[in-house]
Structure formats: C-alpha cells, structure tokens
C-alpha cells in the first residue's frame, strides 16, 4: 500500500479526528462566551459525522486492499462496517439534547467522535495489534462517556465498566502474546498460516480463550457481561444507545473477521480433523459462550424493573444469537451475523429513542405506562422495535434469527444451539410482551402529552425505516453484504 | 306427473314448516291454534290423497321418488319415496296429528311455541318415514328429538327436566351407536340408500364382495355381528325394549298428555319402522341366526313390562308400560320376519301384516288412552289410580269411550287391537312356539291389568277426586270421535291397511328371499 493510497483510504478517519479536534477547540473556546455552545458543538459533530459518512461512501466501490501486516483494510467489508458504524453514531448523536437543562459537558462530543473513530478502526483491521489499539481507543472513550452524568451512580457504572474492561484488555493482550508465540504473526492471515495443521496445545488454547475474553467484553457476552446492565442504566442515554449498538457492531465485525481469517486455516473450510486447530477448537469456545449468553441473558431479563437494564440483559442474549452465526465458521454464517447485528443495532437504538421522551431518571418499565394514549406514534414505534428484538415477522429481527438458524443447521453439530436459541426466544417473548403490556394495556396516570424531542423522533424514524424495510425485504441488505464480502 | 304430485313428499314434509312461519307472525293464541289445525288438516288431506293414488297404482313399488345428491362424497342423497313399508306409518302420522292439535286445544299453557314445536315435530316425523337414504333419514331422526325435548322441558310435569334429559340422552346414545354402525357399513358397501342396501340384498353373502366393490372391502363376519347388534340395540332404545326402556316411564308420565299421544302414537313407531327399514335387509344370514334370540328378547320385554304395569299406581305409568308391551309384539313379529328359511313365507306374511296393523292400531289406541289419562289427571287433580272411582256415575260418556279404547287395547275382537295381535300370534306360533307362549301370557296379564284399572276407575264408590270430574265437552268429543271411529273401522275392515302392508310383504320377501 502506497502512502497516498493509505491517506485516501484513511480519509474518513482523518477527517473524523480533525473534526473532533475542531469541535473540542470550538467548545473549549466558546464555553464561557456563548450560552448556546452545546448546540453549536452538537451540530458540528453531526455535520462532521455526516461528512465522514459521505467520505466512506466514496470508497463504496473500492476492492479490498491491505498492507503486509493487514493493519488497515480498505474497501470491501470495511466500507460497509464504517458506514454502518457512522450511521449508528449519527443516530445516537441525534438522541442528545443540547438544549436540555442538564447539559452534557463539551468534551462529550470529542469523546463521542474518538469512540466512533476507535470503532471504525476496529472494523477495518485484520491485525491483532491494531485491533487492540482500536479497541482500547473506543473503550477508553466510552468509560469516560459513561461517567459524564457526574453523579454517584454514574461513577459506579463507569468504574465497573472500566475495571472489567481493563481486566478483559489485559487478558486479551496476554492471549495475543500466546498466539503470537505459537503462530509467529499478529496479522490474521499470518496466524492462520502459522497454525495450519497445528494441534491445539494448552498454550494455544489458553491464547484462544484469553483473546476471546477481550472480544466477549466488547460484545457483552457471558462471562464478560457484568458491566452491561449497570453501564446501560447509568450512562447518558445516547451513550447507552451507542454502547448497545455501534460498539457491538464493531466488536462483531472484528470477531467475525478474526474467526474467519485467523481461526480457520485457509482451504480447510471449517472442517478440520478432530483436535486440529480450526473450527473444532473455536466451535466449543463459541458454542459455550453462545449457550451461556442466551440462557443467562434471557432469564436474567425476566425480573427486570428498569427498561435499560432489561435491554442490557436482552443484549447479552442477543450476543448469544450473534455468536451462533459465527459458530458455523462459514462465510454465510458471518453474513448472517452481520445482518443480525446491523438490524439489531437499529432496533435497540430505536428502543432507546423512545425513552428519550423526557428526563426519565429512574427509567422504570412502568414509566412507559399508558404511552399509547399519550403518544401513540411513539408507542407504535416502540411496538415495532420491541417486536423486532423479539423476532416477530415481518420485522427485521425475525429474519435475522431465521437466517442465523438456517446457517447453523447446515452443520448438524449445531442443532443444539438452534434448540437453545429457540427456547431462549420463547423466554424473550415473555419479557418483551411484559414491556408492551405497560405501553398498550395499562392506562396512563396522567393525560399530559409526553415531550418527544425532534432529534429522537428523527432517529426513531430512521430506525423504524431500517427495521421495516430490511424486515420486509431482507434480501436488500443480505445481498449487499454478500456482494461486499465477495470483493 | 302433475303439479300435484311433483315433489309431493317434499311438500308434504315441509308444509308444516310453512305453518310455523305463519305462526311466528300472528298474535292471538286462538289464531295460532286455528292455523296449526288447518295446516295439519291440509297435510292430512294431501297425504291421504297421495296414499290413495299410490295404492291405486300398484305397479309402482316406489312412488313419488325424489333423488338429489346431497353430499356426493359419501353418497348422501336427498331421497324420498313412498312404498309399502312406510305407507302405514305415514298415514298414522297424518291422521294422528290433527287429533293431537285438537287435544291440545284446551291446554291453556299451549301457545305459539307449543304449536310451532308440534308442527316442527310433524315435519321431522314425516321426514323420517319418507327418507330412503341413511343420511337423510338420520337428519330427521335426530330432529324428532328436539321439539319433543323442548315440549317436555317447557310444558311437562314436576320432574320434567329429568325426564326430558333422560329421554333425549338415551335416544341419542342409541342413535350414536346406530350412526357409528352405519358409518362402518358405508365404508364396506359404499352406499347409504336403503333401497340399494335392501335391493341388492346387501350382505347377501357376508363374506363375499358386493357387485362393483373392491375385494378388500368385505365385512368381516365378526364385524357383521357387531353391526347387527349395534343397529339392533340402537333401535331397541327407541322402541323401547326391556332393559333399555328406563327413559320411557319418566317421559310418558312427565310430558304433557298431548305430547305423549304423539310420542307413543307415532314416535315409538319410528323404532319399529327402522328395524324393518334399516336392519332387516342388511344381513339375511345373521337375521336367521339371531331371530330366535330377538324373539326371546321381545317376549321378555312383553312379559316384564306388563308385570311391571301390574304393580304401578299411576294411570300414566300403567299405560306407559302397557304401551311398551304392545310394541313388544311388533318386535316379536319382526323376529318372525327375520326368521329366514326356518319360517314359512305365509307365516312371515301374517307376522308382517300383523306388525303393520299393530303399529297403526297401537298408535291410535295408545294415543287415545293417554288422552283420557290426561283428562282424568287434570279434572281429578291426582295421578293415582286409587284416587278415582265411580266414573261411570259422574261422566258416563267419557267412561264409555274410555272403555272402548281400553278394550281395543286389550284386543277385544271387533276392535283394532284384536286383528293385529291375532295376525302376529298366528305368524309367530309355528316357528317360535315358546316365545309366543310367553307373549300370550303377557297378553292375558294385559287384560288383567286393564280390567283391574276399569274396575277401579269406572265402578265403585265415587271418590272425592272423582266428584269434580265433569263429562266430555263437545271439543273433546270431536277430538275423540276420529280415534274411536278408527278403532272400530280397523277392527271390522282391516283390509285397506292389510292391502297397504301387502306392498311391504312383497318388498321384503323380494329382498330377504333372494
């Protein structure tokens, strides 16, 4: 990769960084002078992200190119991944209310942009080292963002997030060193070549498990899920939405790439002899994580009183479904996971956008009581989002689950994953319906209209469109992903 | 044929429903009565004319046929026709219906609902008797239960609810058995038309295939036995035959007297008719095999029922059990007809004409008896026989007519009961001497029961209850005259009925003798 190629490939990232810095400078400069500084910074970030998205779009037709160490991958999947992450970031940013009484500090916008930057980089690398750096960049930004409410609870949530993240990072780094030791490379292809035909030794197994720990943290899968409920609950709403959506997308794209490129020696196509490095090794780790996540996430969600905690536990469950797609170890499985994670991200932001109605301090589920009579459009939108999360056709969430299961059933060893997944989804119906019960069945205590800010409306509209369009016509997204992966 | 006879039986069956429709719109209860009476009279005249035309045209064994597919999938057809077998029950229904309406004339509780239900019942009864396809038949067969159920439920005595429930459920259980058996039969034969079932001599050879049927579809002999008894028991509930009769005393004592007239007069004949129509043609070999046993069952029913009647204290109970005794004779005759080669065909002819005469004559006399029972209960305010006495003194006309009816029922020569019972005994005696002997013993007990009853009610001192009894009103006389007239008419000139029954004999001889 030549230098000018590198620069043009990195243009979106560079622009994002520049615009983030400008926003920070403007914010700091004007903080004391203008009352409306928050709005200015907000719109600057929005515009910055928009331009970043457009820059990504210009690369749409680029074929996949990379350097020797696969530090940066441009074109192909990276374009799609960046685009999705930027759009998700934009939609989350729309949830911010710069005119609210309790304003977020100026550094929010900067950190939000750097977190996005980290995620974009995560999604466009095939090198463990670069992946680690990107992951840390996004994580560190998110730790701080979580704590921006400046209260005790917020600090606690952030601290949990940080501690667990640090531990996971340490594990990951440790695991990376083992893998590096065995395979002699940090790039995914290098690892695959280095490990071809290798039997799974204790060291390699430890490396695999430790690396997975880092990923598990990022995607909120059991056993590194503990941060999720607290963080979701206490972080500022746009940040929660951001963590739930974009962060997950980035994590899964990186994990998928890692498994597909490094996990499976090329040419073996996923079916290696018993005990040899390849699917058989990863299958067990990922299956265990998937089963544990589905069961734990769905069961724990049942008793929740807080809407955000419920979404957090359900997110753990969804991580399990996403892992089923990866467990099949095929490109088709990766397509299924990509489809799933994209529509999931939009549905979950949609759900957050509904509770952005007003300052809902103790976001209890019964706070949604009587939403139907107060704000019918919001109620119906929430119906769509929740049902999509629950996997009811014809919404996108259903087809996502369906496709993941279809892919998994190509491999008879994964039948039990599908069975567990279906079981989990029946449980999930219970708590999702329980949410909708408050919205549609219960009467409101008061008749006052709920204030639903414009930004939240727009983001809900975008999410609604995505969930409906990709639900009714899943092949639109599916074929795009397949096409892009083939480049 | 002419307009008059096109769709004749369909019109006949459904004219009463037109009466129901008119009843729905008129208001006064008198108008309702008049309309109902007119309807039944119209039906009667129309039907009798049809029967006379039918009897005149001897060449046609099956007249006024209408045949339309109903559910082609199972060969269920709308199939009506008049032949020797159903002519007599149809005539009986036609004649008795106006009498029942007249009998109900003085019932103050009878209103629009009552008379409408009566008319619906008439439709159902005519449908049952004219149907020649099992599906068609069954539709009306079950329909007969519903109006009677509600008539008992609405207008019956103190224990009407239990009586109605028992009546309905017993009969229904029987008909479900019948239904199931016929379904199995349809599976093996592929037809539900009685004419085809009879005409082909369906189960001619039980083990053999039917013409045009698959070889696989043979009725296994064990199944044939099951079907035979299933159908027999299903119908025996309706007849009823001991020990399947326990609905009968309740229903006959609790239903309003007019409804009992209909039940004992016509409905109990459905069972007899169905035995001839539904069971007789099916299994000639099994018929012959089981005929003695059926004769024993009939004899048992005859003797047990009348012995029970001997013990009973209430008028209607006595009549109910004696009614069971009389239909027992029909079953005895039926057993004889079943007899196959063991019974000579002249004996069969005797028994069969006896059966049909008994159907008719019992229909008339039993209806008459229950009418009197109703009058007495109402005027004397008691149901017990012991409550009455000296009726001869207070109501001479009533006593006279009541006496005629009782003697007709006993079988006094010159009255209707004699001819039929004579014919039956004449037919059965040569082949089933023991069964007939037992039945004859029953006959003697019947005489005993009725004479005792007469002595008790007609003679002796006038009891306080009897004092209030006044003699028949003109309306009641009008009601009774046709019945009494028929009792004498059949007793003295049974030829028209025998003539009608001849057709049946030919049909059945043709079918069974093959």
């Amino acid at each position: 990769m030549k230098a000018e190629q590198l620069v043009s490939a990195l243009l979106p990232e560079i622009w994002l960084l520049v615009s983030a810095l400008i926003t920070l400078l403007v914010g700091v400069w004007c903080e004391t002078k203008y009352a409306r500084v928050n709005q200015i910074c907000h719109w600057m970030s929005v515009v910055g992200l928009l331009i970043c998205g457009l820059l990504v779009l210009t690369q749409w037709n680029l074929p996949m190119t990379t350097d020797k160490h696969q530090m940066l991958i441009s074109g192909g999947l990276s374009v799609f991944a960046r685009l999705v992450i930027v759009v998700l970031a934009l939609v989350c940013l729309l949830l911010v209310r710069p005119d609210a009484e309790r304003k977020l500090p100026i550094e929010f916008y900067f950190l939000f942009s750097t977190a996005t930057l980290g995620m974009i980089l995560m999604a466009s690398t095939s090198n463990l080292l670069m992946a680690f750096v990107a992951l840390e960049l996004s994580s560190l930004s998110l730790y701080v963002l979580t704590a921006l409410e400046h209260d005790r609870k917020s600090a606690e949530g952030s601290f949990k997030y940080f501690i667990l993240g640090a531990v996971a990072s340490a594990f990951m780094l440790f695991g990376m060193s083992y893998i590096y030791g065995v395979s002699g490379s940090l790039s995914f292809h290098g690892i695959a070549q280095g490990l071809e035909g290798e039997h799974v030794s204790m060291v390699l197994l430890a490396g695999m498990i430790f690396v997975m720990a880092g990923f598990a943290f990022k995607i909120a899968s059991v056993p590194f899920h503990f941060w999720a409920p607290d963080t979701y609950q206490v972080a500022p709403l746009p940040v929660s939405a951001f963590i739930a959506s974009a962060s997950k997308v980035a994590g899964f794209i990186l994990l998928g790439r890692f498994l597909l490129e490094a996990g499976l020696p090329k040419g073996v196509a996923g079916i290696g002899p018993e005990g040899v490095y390849g699917t058989s090794g990863w299958l067990i780790i990922i299956s265990v994580m998937a089963v544990a996540s589905i069961i734990f996430g769905n069961i724990a969600a049942i008793g929740q009183k807080s809407f955000r905690r419920l979404l957090a536990y359900s997110a753990i469950g969804h991580a399990g479904y996403l892992l089923i797609g990866l467990a099949s170890g095929t490109e088709e499985g990766f397509v299924a996971t990509l489809y799933y994670v994209t529509v999931y991200a939009f549905a979950v932001i949609g759900a957050f956008s509904i509770i952005a109605c007003e300052e809902n301090t103790d976001d209890r589920i019964d706070g949604l009581r009587g939403l139907m009579s107060q704000s019918p459009i919001a109620a119906m939108a929430l119906l769509v989002f929740i049902l999509s999360l629950a996997g009811v056709p014809p919404l996108a969430g259903f087809f996502a689950k369906f496709y993941v299961f279809v892919v998994a059933l190509h491999d008879t060893r994964l039948v039990f994953l599908v069975v567990i997944g279906l079981l989990g989804s029946v449980i999930a119906f219970y708590y999702y319906l329980a949410v909708l019960k408050w919205v549609f069945v219960k009467d409101a205590n008061t008749d006052r209209e709920r204030k639903w800010p414009l930004g939240a409306r727009i983001s809900a509209g975008i999410c609604l469109t995505v969930v409906l369009i990709f639900g009714l016509f899943p092949s639109l997204l599916l074929e795009t992903i397949t096409l892009i992966l083939s480049r | 044929m002419s307009i008059f006879t096109d769709h004749a039986l369909t019109w006949l069956t459904f004219i009463p429903l037109l009466g129901v429709l008119i009843n729905c719109v008129v208001t006064s209860s008198f108008t309702v009565r008049v309309i109902t009476l007119v309807t039944t009279l119209v039906v009667m005249v129309y039907g009798l004319v049809l029967c006379v035309l039918f009897a005149g045209n001897k060449a046609a064994t099956l007249a006024y046929v209408e045949h339309y597919p109903w559910i082609s999938l199972v060969n269920a057809n709308y199939f009506v026709g008049l032949d020797g077998i159903n002519a007599i029950p149809v005539v009986l229904t036609l004649l008795l219906m106006p009498v029942v309406v007249l009998a109900a004339w003085r019932n103050p509780r009878a209103g629009r609902l009552f008379f409408s239900l009566l008319l619906i019942e008439q439709t159902a009864l005519l449908g049952v008797f004219t149907a020649l396809n099992f599906y068609h038949w069954f539709v009306f067969y079950e329909l007969t239960l519903v109006p009677v159920y509600f008539l008992i439920k609405y207008y019956g005595g103190t224990h009407r609810s239990d009586a109605a429930f028992k009546f309905f459920l017993y009969t229904l259980a029987g008909s479900v058995l019948l239904f199931v058996c016929y379904q199995l039969l349809h599976y093996y034969t592929g037809t539900l038309d009685f004419v085809t079932l009879g005409g082909h001599g369906i189960m001619d050879t039980i083990e053999g295939p039917l013409p045009g049927q698959d070889f696989e579809r043979m009725v296994p002999s064990a199944l044939a036995i099951f079907l035979f008894w299933g159908i027999f028991i299903g119908l025996a509930v309706k007849v009823p035959l001991y020990p399947l009769h326990s609905w009968l005393p309740d229903a006959y004592t609790q239903a309003p007297p007019e409804v009992v007239m209909l039940m004992t007069g016509v409905m109990s004949k459905i069972g007899i008719y169905a035995l001839v129509r539904l069971l007789l043609p099916l299994f000639p070999e099994l018929n012959a095999q089981f005929a003695p046993l059926v004769a024993w069952l009939a004899a048992l029913s005859i003797i047990v029922s009348i012995l029970v009647a001997l013990q009973k204290k209430e008028i209607r109970e006595v009549f109910a059990y004696s009614s069971m005794n009389h239909v027992g004779f029909c079953v005895l005759a039926f057993a004889c007809v079943m007899g196959g080669a063991a019974v000579s065909s002249s004996d069969k002819a005797f028994a069969l004409s006896g059966l049909f005469l008994q159907v008719f004559s019992h229909g008339i006399t039993a209806a008459c008896l229950f009418y009197f029972a109703g009058l007495l209960e109402e005027r004397g305010n008691t149901v017990l026989i012991s409550g009455f006495g000296g009726l001869r003194n207070v109501a001479p006309v009533m006593t006279g007519l009541f006496g005629v009816a009782l003697f007709a029922s006993i079988g006094l020569p010159g009255l209707s009961g004699f001819v039929s019972e004579f014919l039956i005994i004449r037919g059965t005696l040569p082949s089933y001497p023991w069964q007939t002997a037992v039945s004859c013993a029953g006959l003697i007990v019947t005489a005993l029961v009725f004479l005792k009853l007469m002595e008790r009610i007609f003679f002796g001192p006038v009891t306080p209850q009897s004092e209030t009894i006044h003699d028949l009103t003109p309306m009641e006389k009008v009601t009774l005259i046709p019945l009494i007239f028929l009792m004498f008419a059949i007793g003295l000139f049974p030829q028209p009925l025998v003539y009608l029954a001849q057709g049946a004999i030919q049909l059945i001889e043709g079918g069974v003798g093959q």
Binding site: V418, L422, L433, V441 | S72, V139, F165, F168, L169, V180
Partner: protein, 515 residues
Amino acid sequence: MLAQSTIYLSFIAALLLMTLFRCRSGQCARVFALVISLVLFGLSVWTFCHHQSAAPGYQIETNLEWIPSAGIRYIAGADGVGIVLILLTGIVAVAGVLFSWHIEERAAEFFAFYFLLLGGVYGVFLSVDLFMLFVFYEIAIVPKYFLIARWGSTNREYAAMKLALYSFGGSALVLLGMIALYAELARSGVPTFDLRTLAEIGPNLPLQFQFWCFPLLFTGFAILAGMVPFHTWAPAGHVAAPTAGSMLLAGVVMKLGAYGCLKGALMIMPGALSIPLVIPYIGLEIPRFWFWMFSALAATNILYGAMAALVQKDFKYVIGYSSISHMGFVLIGLMTLNTIGVTGAVVQMFSHGVVASLMFAIVGGMIYQRTHTRDISKLGAFRLRINHPGIAIMFFIGTFAAAGLPGFSGFVAEFLVVRGTAEAFTWMLIPVGLGIIVTFAYTLKFIHLVFWGPHDATVKAPLLPKLKVNEICGGVFLIVILILFGLVPRLLTDVIEKDVTPAVKVMSTHVGGPR
C-alpha cells in the same frame, strides 16, 4: 389480486384506525370497522364463489421473488381448503364487529388490533409458501395478546400471556422444523418453501429425517389448534378475552393451527407416520408411532374436552372446553388420511368457526354483558328463558348446532369425520362416539342449568336490557350461515374434496398399508 386485497385492506384499516380514528368518537371507529368488515366479507364471498368451479390445485394470484438467496417466494393463492377458511374468516369478521359494538373504551385501538389479527389470518390462508405462511402466522399472534390483555375480563393479563407464550412456543417448534426441513432440502439441492414443491418432494425425504422433523411441525401447529396436552391456553384465553376476541380466537385462530397441521406437516412429511419407534436396549418397537400418537391425542381431545366441559362452573369455560372437544374432531379427521375424513376435518374447521363464534357471542356478549356473571349456578335467577326468549332461542339453536344436530353444518362435519374414522381406525369410533354422547350430555345439562336453573320464585328477576339490533343481526347472520351450509353442504364439500383427494392420494401412498 382480490383475494390478497383482504390481507392488505385489513392492515391498512388497522393503521388508519390506529392513527386517524384514534381521537374520534367510538361510533366513528365502529362504523368504519363494520364497513371494512363487510367489504372483507364481500371479498371473501367473491373469491369463494369464483373458486367454486376451479380446477384442482392452488389458484395462484401472485408469484414473486421475495428473498431469492433463501429460496423464499411471495406466492399468494388458495386452494379448496384455504378458500373455505377465507370465507370463514370473512364471516367471523363481520360477526365480531357486530358483537363489539358496546366497546367504548379506546374503540379505535381495539378495532385496529382486531384488523391486524384478521390480516394475519387472511395471510396464512392465502400463503402458498411455508415461510410466508409462518410470517403471517406470527403476525396473527401478537394482536391477540393486546386484545385480551387490554379489553378482556377475569385474569386477563395472565391468560393473555399464557396464550401468547403457548403460541410462541408452538411457533418456535414450527420454526425449528421449518429450518430443519429447509436445510435438508438444501442438501438435496432444492432449497424452497413453496408448499406445492414441498408436497411433491417432501414425502420422499429420508424417513428418518421425517420421523423427527414431522412431530416438530405438527405439534407446533397443533398447539394453536388446542391439542391435548398443550390445550390449557385455550379455555383460559377464551374466558378472559373480550367477546370479539373469543370469537376470533375460537373461530379462526384455532383453525390456523389445524390448517398448518395439514399444509405444513401432514402433506409434507406423511412418511413420518409410517415408521416405527424403536426403543433401543429394550428392543421395544412401536409401529407407526406418530400416527398412533397423534390419533390417540386427537381422540383424547374429543373425549377429554367434552368431559371437562361437563363439569365446568363458569359458562365461558364450558364453551372453551367444548372448543377443545370440537377441535379434536378436526385433528382426528386430519389423521384419518382419507378423503372423507380430511374433508370432514375441513368442514369441521369451518363449522366450528361459525358455531364457536356464535356461542361466544351469546355467552360472552348477550348473556354476560347483561348479567355480569358467568357463574352457572347464579344464571338461573335471571330467568332468561322467560324474560329474554330471544337469547334463549339463539342459545338453543347455537348449542344444538354445536353439539352436531343434523341440519346444521356441524353435523355434516361430524358425519364425514366419523365416516373417515370408520375407514381409518375402527377402534377410534369408541372414544369418538362416547365424545358425541358426552357432548349432548353437557349441552342438555347447561341448557337446563342456565335456562331452567334454580331461582327464588318470590324474588323478581332483575330487569335486564333488551337485545340490541347489532346483537340480533350478528346472531341471526351466524345461524343462517350454519343452516345454509348444513342444508347445502355441497357448497363446501365439493370445493374441499377436489383438493383433498389428490393430496390424500399422495399421503396414503406414503403411509401405506392397511391400518
């Protein structure tokens, strides 16, 4: 296109009611709903009439690619079985609106969910693609929850949740079976969900595969059809639901399950019924395992449902359990695998749909809304027979029609099913016959208790409001339908038979042998 317009008209009506009519008065929404339901009824009748003379097979209206990569197509059309159920849906739709006239509270929303449900139901019956069928099947589940939980009575939230979870549980099984089937087909190179293709190649799939895949699909669908032992949602749901909810639930939603059993399980994998279950180690071999299993369960449905109805104290529970019993006739009819039996099952679906709506309309609508009690021992005091002869007559007609009195469509169905049973498994006639007897027993029992029930003659019966026009219209409408199809069953049987006959031929060759 006209048949499909029922689906989209329902959805559009739902959307309009949810948005435009929300703030208007209830009357406005009601009239709108009635108009829409009449149009739906008209469309249903129109398509039904046009189907009458058609050749066997599906009448396809639209056939488009939907998700090409997964071999999923959008194929809308109906065959004889579907068209009968479309007609049924049209009938129940009108009656349901008529019996929801009293709903004042958020009427527009009520009707919105009502039409959403109807759209799903229409969609299922018009799907010729299993995936598409499943999509509509699930769409029909969600509104049920809200209808019951919001506008229901006794224990409504519990019952609604139970119903929804059972339904989703069932559809999870269906989904599993469907995906397994798809994966198996993909292995043999024909990844498709087209019901026509599935019915062609499905029976030739490896028997061992059919053996474990068939019960998933069948049980999954049968849960919604109220098969014992997965029936408990039904009585609870019916009781808690608002009148129109129970009418739709018993009238059409249970038919979705039965329809799925036929189209989604029996017609695709009949081979599963032919093979034995071999229990290893013991050496026990149960021949035709699934065949006997599901037949026995169906017979249990009939008898158990009827016996449970016999001992109920709550009036709506009686109707609920009688529905279970009647659905048993559908299931056993399907399991006979012969033309007469399967035709009978479909006629029973239709007939039970109408009769169950009528009964729920009478019990939940006419009676409960006046007396405000469903306790059978207390209903006698209202002396409905004398004070409300209209209700009494409708109830008598309805309950006897439900019990299968000849002259009503229920009898036709019963006749055909029993005839099919006589052919397929003679012994099953015993429970079926007993079931019929018990059915009449409870019918008579509850006629007596409710209309001749104990009451204190000295106390004047409370004065209850007279029957309203909409109630009379709805009741008479349903009764006329029952009698019409009872007297002229050919209208149904001919159209069903033409499509059942070829299907049964395929099924019976794969099940094969004397039973």
